[in-house]
Every structure is written in C-alpha cells, then in structure tokens.
Amino acid sequence: MSEQIALNDPLEAMEHFFMMGWTDGLPVVPPTPEKVEAMLKEVGLTGSEIMGKIAERNSVITSEKVAINAVMAGCLPAYMPVVLAAVQAVLDPAFGVHGPTVSTGGAATLVIVNGPIIQQIGLNSGKNLMGTGHRANLTIGRAVRFVLQIAGAGSKFDQTTIGHPGKISFCIAEAEREDWEPLHVQRGFQRTDSTVTVFASEGPNQIYNHVATNPEQLLLSFADRMTPFSTFNMQRNTQCVVVVCPEHLATIQKYGWDKTRVQQFLFDHARRPRADLEKFGFPVDSALGDKDWITVAPSPEDILLVAGGGPAGSFSSYIPGWASKDQSIAITKPISAADCGDT
C-alpha cells in the first residue's frame, strides 16, 4: 500500500505535488484513497498486482501506482482499462521503455486506441485529433506519461534535448470504417477487440495537400514529407506512423486503393539516394547495409497507417519514430484489464 500523506485540503495537495515534482508542470487531481479505489474497482484489481518492471531503474510498477497516477492525470474510472493496457504495452521488453523516455532524442509515447472502447468511453478520432478538448484522449495519454515518469522514476533520468508537446500527452483513437482495415486488425486482432498500440514517437509533421486528385499525386507528397534527412527514420531501421485524414482517404479510396497498397506505395517512394545522405555528413547505420537508396522504414508493414482527423481540410500527419527497431518497436495489447497483472 502506498504511503498516505496528510494535508489540509485539495489546493494544498496540488501545491505539495508541485513541490515534490509529481507533475508534468500542470496541476494534478489529488489522488485520494477513495478515487484510487474506484479506479482499481473498475478493473477488478486490488492494487498489489505487478504490471511490469523497468530493469534499468529497478522499478516495479503496481496496479495501485497506475491507479494513483491515472487519478492525478484526470482520468475517469472508465478509462482505467485503457491506461492499464497501455502501461502493459510500454513495459513489454520489446518496447524498451527506458530508452525512449530518457533519451536526448526526446520521444513521446504515442497511444493509439482501436475497437469498441473508443465509443464506450468517448475517445476522439475526429476533429482536433492531436489537439485539445477531449478528456479521454488527454488524460489517458497523460496518465501513461505519469506512470513512466513518476511511478517509474523516469523524471530522474530524462535527458531530452528538445522534445515535443506530445510528451505531456499523446493519445489518439483511429476513425474506424468498414471500408478500411483498422490498425489493430492489421496487427492480428478482430474488429470487435479493443486494443492499444504504443509507439515511441518524435513530433508529428502535418502533411498539407489540398490539390492532389489521385492517390499517386497525394502519396508522393506524403513521401516527400516523410524523407527529411535529419530523422531517425532516414538513418536507421525505424518505424513510423501516418495518420490519414478523411479528405485524403476519400481521394485514396476513390481509386480503389486499400491499406496494403498505400503502405507499399509509400515504402517504394519515401526514400532518398544514399549518396545525398552521406553528402550531408549524416552517418548511415551499418544495419542499413550498402543499399543505394535509404527508405523511411525497413518494410511496408513498418509504416503504421491510421485513419483519423476532422472531416474538413486536407491535412494528414507523419509521425517519425525514435531510434531503431533494435531499440523500440510498436506494441499492441488487448484491452482486457480483468485478467491482467501478477500478484
């Protein structure tokens, strides 16, 4: 059971948490035992279950610490299954959580939610997808960050040089549609499953194209946006995420292109000559071999395609990855909190 701290009132509690560094710089909701208990009750856990470990920090994350940090982030109990699944995903060894949360490279943890849970808890997949105004998105992303930085002691180690605002909170839902295979289905789940996918991400890059009238024109502009030299993606074997807005998706689907074809087209065209890269003095990871062309990702499947964003406007988004697949890969976990954790 976590230490109980006696204070005079909620405002004093918020100031105490600022003083202790238990915040992202914004006020937090004081985690009272009653609120924490409600979080745990929602997922049928006692608080003692071990959700995972961060070996480099000798950190053990319990369900109680997840619940406390979720309360602080402003989550409702109904969000707890998503937070728990996301925490389990980032604590999967293949995610390599220590690196992206402390690296000078300043990655955020992007949380992508799929499945019926989106409607059940009111996650936003539309207008202002990565912006403001949606409690579920903002507080779930913030809770994951809190767990890693406060319960997981990451704030002691974070050496980020620049970073980006997604480090405060970065959670989106996919705008799922019958005529487009959603991310979690492509990664082996059923449409009826709810999942989270976590991805160590650099800052998002908006893709502006109001004029393309066919998929080739449109996706060539995507490819151009995806291939600046100064990213991990162009120097190492790194995954990336592309969020396709509804207007762009309409252009793609008008010509019958499916998701696999879009991924293949981007893989074929989001590349630059190796000689150009070396001309600028950028080192090319030896893992890339002696290929003449440097491609944005090691395979079409490593370009994670997601539909989302508001119905008006032709603005999609390219989200580069952090480091390489040797250090961190996207992890998808089912949202099924009732059977999670080890005691």
Binding site: Q4, L7, P10, A13, P33, I68, H98, G99, S324
Partner: protein, 95 residues
Amino acid sequence: MAGPFIVLNPAQESTVSSEKTANRLTTLDDKVLAVVNNGKRNSDVILQTLLAQLQQSYKLKDVIWIDKKNASLPVTDVMLEQLQSCHAVIAGVGD
C-alpha cells in the same frame, strides 16, 4: 473543519533491497577488469583510451571487453554472468 485531507504517494517508494555496494578496491594490480561498451558512437574510443591508461598504471590480470548491442537496452543475462567473475567494471557513454 474536517479531518486531514489524505492523498497517496504516486512515486516509487524506497524498498528494502538485498543488493549492496561492491567492496572498493585499493588497487587494480592482479585484478580482472571488465569494460562495457554500450555501443554509443565513439564510446569504444573513449573506453579504449581509458583502458590503455589503466594498463600503463596497473598490471591487470585480465580484461573482459563486452559490446552491448545497443545503448538503450539493459545488459543481457549472459553479460551479467560474465561480469560476475570480474573485480571491477567500467561502463561508459560516449555521446
């Protein structure tokens, strides 16, 4: 005024650990020294330089050089086993 307002500590709290600091060495003479290269660019250069200086100052019994696959992940269990046979370990970051 009601009673105190109780909140819970969100951070990792200190736990009793069976781990303890290794005994400090007074000399590296006749000792086995391990060097862990974490794989950052030029970390091998720095560590090789440091090792060469130590070898000038001490008669090391043996040197075990370990290359991590990448800097971001923990050392493997196999590497940890190798380190257990050493008297001292140097680990460095070459950023």
